[in-house]
Amino acid sequence: MPQIAQIAATYASQIFWLLIIFGLIYFVIGKGMLPKIEATVDARDQKIATDLAAAEAARAKADETEASYRARIEEARAAALKATQDAKSAATAEAEKRVKSADAELAAKAAEADAALKAAQAKALAEIENVAAEAAQEIVAKISGITVDKADAAGAVKAALAA
């Protein structure tokens, strides 16, 4: 086995070169390059973590914006509803008022017309009484030749009409 048979002759050379090569590997690669590669990996991990956090924050902000948007929409909707209701009730009140005033006007007109009608009726009645008294005067004069006083005739007509 050359590893054992040659060991006395070659151990110094093997150890010498191994220490040189392994020392180079340790200091150049292990100490020089490895930390940079690990730093790259760490930087990437950190970047991913911060990006994730930023995305999370952005999502929270979007949620918040949406909530405030919803709240404002609700508010606007309520305001619009109130405005329409106000307008509706105002219009109703106005219409009622106008209907009332129109009613009053109509009632006044009706009362006036009623009064006029009554007056006309009374006048017509009076006229009829007058005509009837005259007619009765004339009839009495023609039939009996008695001249009846106008007041008597009117009283007689009145009694006859009342009967």
Partner: protein, 261 residues
Amino acid sequence: MAAESGKIDPMHQFLIEPLFGKEWAIAGHNVAFTNSAMWMAITLAAMLIFMIGGMKRELVPGRWQAAVESFTGFISSMMTTNIGPEGKKFTPYVFSLFMFILIANIMGMMPVGVVGVHPFTVTSHLTVTGVLAVISFAIVLIVGFWRHGFHFFSLFVPHGTPGYMIPLIFLIELFSFLIRPFSLGLRLFVAMTAGHILMKVLAGFVINGINAGALTVAIVSIPSFILMIGITLLELLVCAIQAYVFALLTSLYLNDAVNLH
């Protein structure tokens, strides 16, 4: 070549041959640049290429960057689950260890033999795995005594041990603790060596069977070749598992040192 002599030596792959600098020496010890050192350098180069491909540092990673990041993420998550937030300090070491062993294992499996280069598995050498295990163990000791002082010895007395059992338990736990570097180094060395020997033996069956005639091709070479495909896939799995086990055990031992119990 061994095949030309009709005999295939499955141990030849582990032979260390100096490539250049045979006379280089430090304090009397020869430090020639061998094939083992060359394959360590190839491992380093492959790892550098792999890592540089992942250094674009883009926010959205490409395929290569994602592959590199999956390796670094694998080790750093292993450290945080086994040690906790303090494990981050040891990630560079465990990552270097894991990637070095993994790539060295896989480099030893590369079919470069077809272009005439002898593949060599750095981690199939006890010297290499032993040094890595000793480094891990030394870090555990240093961190343990640095953080806890002599209180670190309480690691060897589990909670709830009856008073009269403490000396015995202490010895057993101490022994198991001191065994760790050996088990760590031997496990990788043995797994790599055994797998590569098995592959070479089966390959020897295939080639010797072909040389011996049509009958042996049918009854030896073809079944061996089919078996070899399976063993090769298993070895690739073992390459990854052994690297993982080494890194995992290192992180568990570091956990003992950092958090005691």
